[in-house]
Symmetry: C2
Amino acid sequence: MARGSTRPTSRDVAHAAGVSQAAVSLVLGEKWRGRVSEATADRVRQAAQELGYRPNLAARNLRLGRTRTVLLVVPALTTEFFAGVYTGAARVAAEHDFGVVLYPSPQGIGPARDPFGSAPAALDGVIASSMAADALTAIHGDQLPLVMLDSDPDGSLGAATVNLDIRDGMRQVAEHLLGLGHRRFLHLAADIASWTFDIRADELATRVSKTPGAQVRTIAAPITIEGALTAAETALAAPGPRPTALVCDDDKLAVGAYKAARRLGLRIPDDLSITGVDDLAIATAIDPELTTVRLDAELFGERGMKALLTVLDGRTPADGDIPVELVVRGSTAPPHLP
Amino acid sequence: MARGSTRPTSRDVAHAAGVSQAAVSLVLGEKWRGRVSEATADRVRQAAQELGYRPNLAARNLRLGRTRTVLLVVPALTTEFFAGVYTGAARVAAEHDFGVVLYPSPQGIGPARDPFGSAPAALDGVIASSMAADALTAIHGDQLPLVMLDSDPDGSLGAATVNLDIRDGMRQVAEHLLGLGHRRFLHLAADIASWTFDIRADELATRVSKTPGAQVRTIAAPITIEGALTAAETALAAPGPRPTALVCDDDKLAVGAYKAARRLGLRIPDDLSITGVDDLAIATAIDPELTTVRLDAELFGERGMKALLTVLDGRTPADGDIPVELVVRGSTAPPHLP
DNA sequence: CCAGAGCAGTTATACGTAAAACTTCGACTG
DNA sequence: CAGTCGAAGTTTTACGTATAACTGCTCTGG
């Protein structure tokens, strides 16, 4: 109060309590057992309370060389999926007295100024989605303990990986549709180079090729409703026998596919079965509701944070993919025989 | 390199370049005009490059007492709306060499450990959505320069405000529906206490009450599809004359209303006209497409950041609401006469 | 009666940076 | 030729914290 408008420091608290700055640090750091008397500790806490003291993080971070803060790098925040990942990661972080800061890979902001350009000094580690891998170089995460989400375990040198078992998810989709009798597949793929999408394509192709008479064609589209709409419309309107099942890499693409089908006068699921991946809110907002692979985003975030904490602890995280589950709804049915 | 695995400091660079640490700071801080010769500056830059030097942010922040980092506080990241706000804010921030960090008001994480508990020392300012006002106390934003988004200009003591002209948006909705001939309105309101929703209710009630024979009933629901579905279903199934127009506080609520209508066998827009607010992706994903009030989220973020920069500059930001626009689509039509 | 051991603190230092204040030296001015 | 000035640095200090190392002081056991 006496020093104008600057925030009180531990020295101010010390002065108010009639002790040294070191004593304040000991008491507030909960490291005072056997060093400071109960009575003095009370005085210190009282003084800190009255002055509204809060430690200066910059100073603490400098002193300790650690920040108990990790960065979560995600693709542009376009869906609630990464909101779930954040929630899970933040929950586990809180249990270990860590904080999580979000860095959505900026669209159109460019590398002009990246807020974490020199952040390795201010962060203890990074959790990054492989879909935002491009942002990683800008962030210089190389110097930091790093956990990759949904990334090729072999390709990510040294970094720990936490993956959803998306291969199994795609297996479930393929078996569901093949079991219904579908043979002509169209795969509406995301046009992003990422392990998680490569796996989808690979698994679908593998399963289909094992079934006699079944075939799959793949088209790529940007993960936006409009992009998917355009791509699906041209593919479905193409000459030759029309596919009876449209497998989409995620729910957004599926929504675009719905719109394409509507434009072409195709009925779902009678003329065309459609599946997605994610199980976002839109999956049940559309009519008919979407058959899709449910991904547990929160668990994904939790596992990512736990893995990072393990790395920070100097140990190697055990791996093991996170199971996923096919949710069958109204957008899939046996194909109409021509 | 010689010092083991620790990151190089400005002192290491100085040693490598054969100058003092101060010289390094001058050169790299671009403050060396007339203080250091061109040749020496080159040597310093070269050495920094070779060592891979990057300044320690904690030390810099401590020294300067500023961080050029602001915090954006948003409600739980459930829609792409706040992704747009972030994008806009980050773009303006980048132009001024600032960084933006996201703090999604945690759901279910509780105040156990909030990563910004003592952050005032590590942040220069805060931009907060009024929908996340509860998180603000946890963040102790009171001590920091603060800009509120969509908050009551009178109620937010001292803090600057940036608002969407949502009152005008609701006026457009009301006039559109009244013009179509609707007289029995149901208002599906968000159950969050926030200026931006209060204004919606107030404006709608005002406009409707000015029209002879028109009336509006209001029900509140959580801003989730399920919550809206339940609330809308009970309200629409209630005895008495059914409303012909359902005005929703945002697009998510509208999606819930669509599902309720579908369950009750009501056709949109023949039996029921529905409107939303936001113009999210789902607005055009559903069938029929939703008549809604388009909010320019990116512009909102830009204006918020600009206002904060003005405050940080010691000046008072000029206000002026951001215009919004009604987008008429297929979910509204004249009421069927009974 | 004195060595040693707790107790209850204090003093001093380091983290890495930015910048104010100082130094050195040659060139120029009156 | 004394004095001044500018260039090109260097030395020093401060930011606020955490903690290692130190200081008295009081007991206690042998």
